[in-house]
Subunit: 495 residues, 2 copies
Amino acid sequence: MALFLQIKRHVERLIADGILGPGTKLPATRDLARTLGVNRTTIATAYDALVADGWARAHVGQGTFVADRPASRPAERPAAGPLAWEGSFSRGVRRLIEDVRRRTGPDVSVGPGLVSFLGASPDPTLFPTEEFRRALNHVIKREGAALLEYHPVAGYAPLRRYLAAWLVRHGIEVREDEVLVVNGSQQGLDLIARALIDPGDVVLIEEPTYPGAIQVFAAAQAELVPVPVGPGGLRVDVAATLIEKHRPKLLYCQPSGQNPTGVSLDPAARLALLDVAVRHRLPIVEDGFGAPGEAEGARAPLRALDRHGLVIHLGTLSKVLFPGLRVGWMVVPGPLAAPLLRIKQLADLNTGALLQAAVFRFCQGRRLERHARLIRAEYRSRRAALLGALERGLVPESAWSVPDESAFSLLLTLPEGVDAAALLPRAIDRGIAYAPGSFFFLGERGARALRLAYAALPGPRIDEGVRRLGDVVRDALKHRRRPSATATAGALPVV
Amino acid sequence: MALFLQIKRHVERLIADGILGPGTKLPATRDLARTLGVNRTTIATAYDALVADGWARAHVGQGTFVADRPASRPAERPAAGPLAWEGSFSRGVRRLIEDVRRRTGPDVSVGPGLVSFLGASPDPTLFPTEEFRRALNHVIKREGAALLEYHPVAGYAPLRRYLAAWLVRHGIEVREDEVLVVNGSQQGLDLIARALIDPGDVVLIEEPTYPGAIQVFAAAQAELVPVPVGPGGLRVDVAATLIEKHRPKLLYCQPSGQNPTGVSLDPAARLALLDVAVRHRLPIVEDGFGAPGEAEGARAPLRALDRHGLVIHLGTLSKVLFPGLRVGWMVVPGPLAAPLLRIKQLADLNTGALLQAAVFRFCQGRRLERHARLIRAEYRSRRAALLGALERGLVPESAWSVPDESAFSLLLTLPEGVDAAALLPRAIDRGIAYAPGSFFFLGERGARALRLAYAALPGPRIDEGVRRLGDVVRDALKHRRRPSATATAGALPVV
């Protein structure tokens, strides 16, 4: 078909579909020619043909306009309606959508009066924003153009060196080339799943756990087998049995300040877990969301105890500095570095060097450690405030996990017969919000549980929030129907 | 096993493996207790046991030291050596590694004398770094803390609005919620593959093409079917036949300033391609690496002509502003937005809002358009310099693609019997580097081709580089052996 005819037909369709209404001025031939990159005469010919067929009218010196009543709808309709994308989704994304649907709660708009225990993130009022701005300025002035070019995929070399040295000081013996910078530990986790998991592979995962981990493995089409978390962290005895039975491809855990429970894995259990893993040649993903400047008294990371190169350690600045930086790192066993870098490269070429350099600059002179000490002290007192309020019995008939001092949240279990997700709208009406426990469990468990993230709330707000939660729960207890045995069978969280 | 015994055994292994050498002072019991999070007595007991067994010696008041000649290697060796990760790699990453191996050239260190046609990126000496620094400062001072928190996965709302308005001005009718911000168009492409491709699905892909696209689809385990690129861009006639035959899941193309050839798809061919796609309900990925401020005279993007919601358009700031920002966007058909956001969220939660806000600020007052005009003019003159040098016959017996004015590179075909990859080391010795053509082809094609990326080189350097390339080729011609028919059968690139 001649080019002018194709253009004519295209405009006809726009008119027939009402996208170009009666009386609309068509673009000047010069402009449309430029936009389409064709000769102006071609456009003029197309417009002439539109006028000849009654689609448009020409006014000399004014331009061409859509006819007031285009003679008829075009003889031929478009071949078909819009593409039905749903039929094209990959199996991975179908599985993901299904999982997300189960884990989606009400949309909570955070009003000023609301006490929100929702987000397990640091308190933005404590951010060292101004110091970071100065660090950014420093690096842009010194090496801005270089930082804004494409950059090696493994990360900004000085930051990798800094992290390696910091890790060595904390007992993790690591070479610089085993430290890979990623867009937060979330990306590290996703890269690991892509490097190691084929559909149907079994992954052992703590339960309750971080929903972002569940979703990464769901998208990789893994078969997820939960390992319960007790007061001393992941139950290694149960894990050992499940490893025997399922021969998993890897095990995912957060040994310190676990999300959502806040508990940490006992030192002896750490060594025992590694022993089991060595025996079964089982890779462990240690999501160690602590960071440079980790609280004193924290337990040694699994990676520090690992002598067989089977632990992949993930770190992030999201909890200690800014969640929005999207700068994290992986400490990987040597043979994994190359394939992970390949995937990282196709995923997004590299993590932006500018912010990496600013972080490096910020960390000079132990500034990160000083900031970490400051916020840890604050979070410790918030943790104490929450535990104190719960211990005073403000929430009747409830139990809770006791979080580590490095944690951001704990998991509360409501009285029998009270469903945390169902209660949430009423809680929000009373001015308190939380994350329903079902978010953190596989399948249908966790109905009575809820996560209280306390790090971003000042002490008095925490007290007020727990008081409100208590009121809501007392109300619910007045109206509760004794649940049937079936309904609660799987509902009790393990912490 | 008792905790102190586990610790003792761990230290024994460190000694036996030579990690703790003879005479090394062991950490103070207080420090190690803190690091491991255990009681100090436990450490002291472990140290006592080490001394009793001859692993260490104690000096009162000084501490515990590794024995000068530890009595023996431990009775039991570790259960096994380091984990053999290679056996655990996913099928996707195996496929990727295989592809990358074929596409890896010599490591070129860029000395000051080298004329490097290697990277298809903008010229860093033209970067508006100082203006961007001011934009960054402005947004940090105004909304720093908010920008450094977690952020909605779809992107910074004002930037999405800006992009949507800009796109509408350029003929792409789009709502704000159809614009998703990603870490450069590379991530957009990867998200698409993850959302749509199952192993074994057929993907039609331009050939030659951007290696990052080949690798995304390789990792997704797609079956790649090449569509040749002619002087007028993708050969739509060939594509139509291949679509009939293979029923592909999607088609990938760069209709404007294609990488590596620089050619653009003819306007008529754009409409024809859409017609074929509509008939076969075939999604098209338009990697439109142009950007706000695209050169005037560029052809309308496929997305602007698409009336059936089957084109996904990818955009980036890497070519017009800074490659290192890692800020790009996708324009997606409505039904694809939710699944793509789900995958983006598990991939890295969100693209950092700070740089998005700085980009938005930078773009105010048409600053991006002004910068784009400036660099386009520069690149146009560099393109002319390269074409001029080639037309003067500096490289004997060669042919080349004629790039669009919005392009960054062209593809040169060397004389018969000259292999571009084999020639590269000699070229580097003479002070000129290029990307071997085989990088841009599937399978074994492209041996005689090479990519010359000219955007980052000033005109006189281009001239000098082509002159040097000509010398290298003339040298090679003196020594060439007439190749057998078999060896060249597949080597002729289509452009």
